[in-house]
């Protein structure tokens, strides 16, 4: 695939993904696409670029299904949470906007635009204090770059050279408003660079280019080289929410983006780079079965008992007033 990045970071030792990593990337992309297509109200484009993160600790957004799966959260338990079931990752109390899997390193996600960035900064301070060479990833969309929390976080991360990578998936739309109508400077990487941090743009529809950029950024962070802001340039392929009207999106822009949809394009690329049709067909079938199994598992999982309503408000249930 051709990298359409406007400019890419000077890479120290850019690592190309191994054949095994490429197949895992494809598998994750298929799972995310499959699960997103089946889940009501979920938007498919949300997690695609996030399939490629080789991450240790992750803070995500309210569209975190892709990040959760990419980070290795249990597919069954993530899907169960989408439906508020007792076997969900939050026991049904969080729902689709509050996925997490601490054991998998997917630390938390937030429904408040931009609020994850300062939390990721705190995790990065923890990683820096631990001194074990860990790094943290904070994901958000282009819309989040308008809010103060993100800018406070960028400054703090750069000031203290924290091991954090901010991954901004720029799909060109903040809810229903195009980037050029809400940002005086629509070059988001350039704005991040003004905080004296490493900042790069990459074609977010190109899995391999994205992998390289993230791998570079994480290597730099782990080595004490400070934060990186990665602007992954993509395009939103569906409406902001499942049922929303999408007629306001210019037809030609959407058509061009759909041509570059990485889900089919990456498959074609793999076929031209050593993968066989039989191999990918088998992989597709295995993914379909895994996704179907996760939804069956979720639907079979009971709703949580109402008795659990006041559990986990505080560490000690007795503290909760007026129960």
């Amino acid at each position: 695939m051709a990298a359409a990045a406007t400019h890419v970071a000077e890479s120290h030792e850019s690592t190309d993904p191994s054949p095994e990593v490429l197949r895992e990337m494809y598998r994750l992309m298929r799972i995310i696409t499959g699960a997103s297509n089946r889940a009501s109200g979920e938007v498919r484009a949300g997690g695609l670029a996030s399939a490629f993160y080789p991450v240790r600790g992750l803070v995500s957004t309210y569209r975190s299904l892709g990040d959760a799966i990419a980070k290795g959260a249990s597919l069954r338990r993530v899907v169960a949470e989408l439906y508020g079931r007792s076997d969900g990752v939050c026991g049904g109390k969080g729902g689709p906007m509050h996925l997490h899997d601490v054991d998998a390193g997917f630390v938390t996600s937030t429904g408040i635009v931009g609020s994850g960035a300062p939390i990721a900064v705190g995790l990065a301070i923890a990683a820096q204090l631990d001194g074990e060479g860990r790094a943290v990833i904070s994901t958000f969309g282009d819309g989040a770059t308008s809010i103060g929390a993100v800018h406070e976080a960028l400054n703090m991360a750069a000031l203290w050279r924290l091991p954090v990578v901010f991954v901004c998936q720029n799909n060109q739309w903040g809810e229903h408003t195009p980037l050029a109508q809400y940002a005086a400077n629509p070059n988001l990487a350039e704005r991040a660079r003004s905080y004296s941090m490493n900042a790069v743009q990459v074609d977010g529809f190109d899995p391999i280019a994205t992998y390289r950029v993230l791998d570079d950024a994480l290597s730099r962070a782990r080595a004490g080289g400070g934060p990186t802001f990665v602007e992954a340039l993509t395009y939103r392929l569906t409406g902001h929410s499942g049922s929303a009207d999408y007629s306001y999106v210019p037809r030609d822009e959407l058509e061009a983006a759909l041509q570059r949809d990485p889900a089919p394009a990456f498959r074609t690329w793999l076929l031209g780079h050593g993968a066989s049709e039989q191999e990918l067909t088998e992989l597709d079938a295995a993914v379909d079965a895994e996704v179907a199994d996760a939804f069956d598992f979720a639907m079979a999982s009971p709703l949580p008992s109402p008795d659990l309503r006041y559990v986990d408000v505080f560490a000690d249930r007795k503290v909760v007033p007026l129960t």
């Binding site: 939050c90 960035a117 900064v121 705190g122 990065a124 301070i125 929390a149 559990v311 505080f314």
Partner: protein, 337 residues
């Protein structure tokens, strides 16, 4: 074995301290014992040691990695503290004035308070936020008691000490607590008076009110700065034949409602006094609880004494916070005098 464990005498050794010194002592002991305790806040490193100086000397002793002076960025301060808590640390975030909690309220309300619950118990947030409020003439944006806001948020603990000894013990309890705690220091009692405070480790459990003075006729329920006012009014009224019981709540969440109800059941009259606005303030919750539980026992309606419903005026001609006179009038009113 440490010397302290072997010697009860040393463990109970006390020294006169103001509240800021008592808080400094609590922090010092906690940071020495647990290297997961870290502090974030504006100007908290030496030589400043924070706006009220509670962290004086601590960055020199424990390093600026653990006592970090931050940019003026309240959202990032509390957000980073939440992240540190998720990363296995026990952070203390300092928000210089309570009014500035409005700047970072998203991180407090939507994240610190809710993350344990939303994750089904997988992401607890052991975080202490230290902030300050006072009655000095700083105008309307540097002196507002907003504790009722945080009482209203399930998942937040709210702590307001009335003196140096409790301040030390309650801060130690917050730092060891597995839930987010908002610790509110009242500036008027931060530097004076002094009190004998244990020099070594000292903990006051959260959720245990303190009966400051025993009495039989009226229960005055209060916290923070107003405890001293209530005790003074009670002493004065005792000479005139009215026996006032004074309860220092110490913590608004957890709320020691048992202590309050046990007292009012006996005295059958209650007055709540606080610096926060009367309207929809903590006193409204207490009055309602008392009335719901003890309606048949009460000899008079529960009265609330608090601040009026205006922003805090600057001019000294405009009174704002409740005074001893206001409290005395309320007590005499419930006594029918």
């Amino acid at each position: 074995m440490t010397l302290v464990e072997e010697s009860p005498a040393l463990a109970t050794e006390t020294k006169p301290m103001a509240m800021v010194a008592a808080l400094n002592s609590a922090l010092d002991i906690a940071m020495a014992a647990d290297d997961k305790i870290v502090m974030l806040g504006e100007d908290i490193a030496d030589p400043n040691g924070g706006v009220l100086k509670i962290s004086k000397g601590l960055s020199t002793k424990y390093g600026t990695d653990r006592v970090r002076a931050t940019p003026i960025a309240e959202t990032a301060i509390v957000g980073a503290a939440v992240g540190l808590a998720l990363g296995g640390y026990r952070p203390l975030a300092e928000i210089m004035f309570m009014d500035f909690t409005t700047v970072c309220i998203d991180q407090i309300v939507n994240h610190a308070a809710k993350l344990r619950y939303m994750s089904g118990g997988h992401t607890p947030v052991p975080l202490t936020i230290h902030t300050a409020v006072g009655t000095r003439r700083y105008g309307a944006q540097h002196a507002q008691n907003l504790e009722a806001w945080f009482m209203h948020i399930p998942g937040m603990k709210v702590v307001i000490p009335s003196g140096p000894k409790d301040a030390k013990g309650l801060l130690a309890a917050c730092l060891a607590d597995d839930d987010p705690c908002l610790f509110i220091e009242h500036i008027d009692i931060a530097f004076t008076p002094k009190e004998d405070v244990p020099v070594g480790e000292y903990v006051v459990p959260l959720g245990q009110a303190n009966i400051v003075r025993r009495g039989d006729d009226v229960t005055v329920i209060t916290y923070g700065r107003q405890v001293a006012t209530a005790a003074a009014v009670a002493a004065e009224l005792a000479e005139q034949g009215t026996s006032v019981e004074v309860i220092d709540l110490r913590t608004l969440v957890p709320l020691d409602i048992e202590c309050v109800l046990n007292s009012v059941e006996r005295t059958r009259r209650a007055v709540v006094v606080h610096d926060a606005h009367t309207f929809a303030g903590p006193g409204a919750e207490l009055a309602s609880e008392i009335t719901e539980q003890l309606f048949g026992d009460l000899l008079a309606p529960v009265l609330r004494v608090g601040a009026g419903s205006s922003p805090i005026p600057f001019a000294s001609s405009m009174s704002f916070h409740p005074t001893a006179d206001d409290l005395r009038r309320a007590v005499l009113q419930v006594m029918g005098r």
